[in-house]
């Protein structure tokens, strides 16, 4: 595999994405959110003991949990399937580029595209906060960046996996929407309404919930602000009795990252084995 070709594909994908309308909307949403938070005076307010930039980051987390996965899924899922649909793949792969270089180049380029606006919005919020003389929660910023990086990887990997298995981009969009809504709500509904009603073992229910990358991100993000997880009630005991808060945050970064790499790798294996056009 030529690293030069991989970077070439990543660079071209990045250039193409930056010009796309979806990227402008995507960047405006995250940048606009931060701006909105400042305008709305969230940094001046205090809720459940959180104030200033910590409060802003907490709000940012709540919003990114919902919108980041669906943004990543719908923008990435058409990466391979869309190129296949429109015969772009047929032409671009008529040059001596290996499938590895093409696929992983796309993954790399797309990761930068989806992660950078989210990170930069947060980064500028911190800079603006510093300028305004607010207390800067740098440890929270770095840990939260790690969590965002990890969750972005998970959904990017899932999106590339979907993109590789389906033939059309419409189908890819449909599946990605289902995955998002399933992880966001259905899995909770299933756990709460069915398993709890049936008196399933609590550890089993919590383990299944924690296998959801969105859920583990949510709990880990809360634990950054509330290490005892008091806002979660008794569920906190099940988690913190087994592992420490530090180790839980570590797992919350490693697990989604591993999941993303695994899905991306499975996607590549399918991409390699299937007809290209």
């Amino acid at each position: 595999m030529s690293f030069r070709n991989l970077l070439l594909i990543a660079y071209l994908d990045l250039r193409e994405s930056i010009r796309a309308n979806w990227f402008i909307v995507y960047s405006l949403v995250f940048g606009g959110l931060i701006a909105l938070f400042f305008i709305a005076g969230i940094t001046e307010s205090q809720v459940m003991g959180f104030s200033g930039l910590s409060r802003l980051l907490l709000m940012y987390i709540q919003v990114t949990i919902v919108i980041l996965p669906i943004f990543i899924l719908i923008t990435t899922v058409r990466s391979i399937s869309g190129d296949r649909d429109s015969h772009i793949l047929e032409y671009m792969l008529s040059f001596p580029i290996s499938l590895k270089e093409y696929y992983w180049g796309k993954v790399f380029g797309r990761f930068i595209t989806v992660f950078l606006p989210v990170f930069m919005a947060m980064f500028f919020a911190i800079l603006y906060g510093m300028y305004k003389g607010a207390e800067v929660p740098l440890n929270l910023f770095f840990l939260y960046t790690g969590l965002l990086f990890s969750m972005s990887s998970a959904f990017l990997g899932i999106a590339f996996f979907i993109s590789s298995i389906v033939k059309s981009s419409e189908m890819a969009l449909g599946i990605s929407f289902f995955v998002w809504i399933f992880l966001l709500a259905f899995i909770d509904i299933a756990l709460i309404s069915l398993m709890m009603q049936q008196r399933f073992n609590a550890e089993l229910i919590i383990t299944i919930a924690m296998l959801n990358p969105m859920e583990i991100f949510r709990v880990a993000a809360i634990s950054l602000f509330d290490p005892e997880l008091t806002v979660m009630g008794p569920v906190a005991f099940y988690i913190l009795d087994i592992i420490s808060q530090e180790f839980f945050v570590f797992i919350s970064m490693v697990y989604p990252l591993t999941l993303g790499i695994l899905f991306a790798f499975l996607g590549f294996k399918i991409f390699e084995k299937k007809d290209l056009v």
Partner: protein
């Protein structure tokens, strides 16, 4: 150069290629013809390594185009029937071709000029925003600049006006390099003067394969 042995390709229950056996050699200039659905494009795509055969195999210069795709594609130029809506700018597309295939950028400019396509004023434009004819001219220029031993043209003149078609066929005839050329076409009269072999396909099979004299019509 290209050997196709007992190649079959099924899509679901539809048999697109049915035990095709054919070989193409250096200096063959082939018109590959047949009705829609005859299997021409499937054969071309199998040669390019896009399709995994249901049975049989394809060898290009003795290599498997799926397992050794980069080695095979170093020696192949391809122009599709319809230029795809590539989102890259013309400059980025040229950069992709030059960096991935070691093509000389000046050579692309040279052939684009020969096709009456001004690259310089279109460099910053998105490829997909060019007109159909302009896109096709650029892809043709790229295919010539690559100087491959095997060139595959799938209805290359479909989007071209009569003058551009003439330019294209003039370039083919001027080309001195020894190579194998495959033209997928419905219009034999257009390629009659440049092909020395006519292959007809129907229902996934090669039904006729004849040597012809390209100068017979003169």
């Amino acid at each position: 150069m290209i050997e196709v042995n007992n190649l079959s390709k099924k899509f679901g229950t539809h048999l697109s290629l049915d035990s095709v056996n054919i070989a193409f050699k250096l200096n063959d200039s082939v018109a590959l013809m047949g009705a829609n659905g005859a299997g021409k494009t499937t054969l071309i795509r199998s040669i390019l390594g896009y399709y995994h055969p249901s049975s049989g195999h394809v060898k290009v210069n003795g290599l498997d185009p799926i397992k050794e795709r980069t080695e095979v594609l170093k020696h192949v130029s391809f122009v599709p029937q319809l230029p795809p809506p590539i989102k890259l700018s013309v400059k980025e597309l040229i950069s992709y071709v030059c960096k991935s295939s070691g093509v000389d950028e000046k050579s692309i400019y040279h052939y684009a000029n020969a096709m009456k396509f001004d690259i310089k004023i279109n460099l910053g434009k998105s490829f997909f925003k060019l007109s159909g004819g302009m896109k096709q001219k650029l892809l043709i220029a790229i295919s010539f600049a690559k100087e491959s031993e095997i060139v595959i043209y799938d209805e290359p003149t479909a989007n071209l006006d009569p003058k551009a078609r003439e330019d294209f066929y003039a370039l083919i005839q001027e080309s001195k390099k020894e190579k194998l050329s495959l033209f997928v076409t419905h219009r034999i009269e257009e390629v009659q003067e440049i092909v020395n072999r006519q292959v007809y396909m129907d229902l996934g099979k090669v039904v006729s394969d004849e040597k012809v004299d390209p100068y017979a019509t003169h």
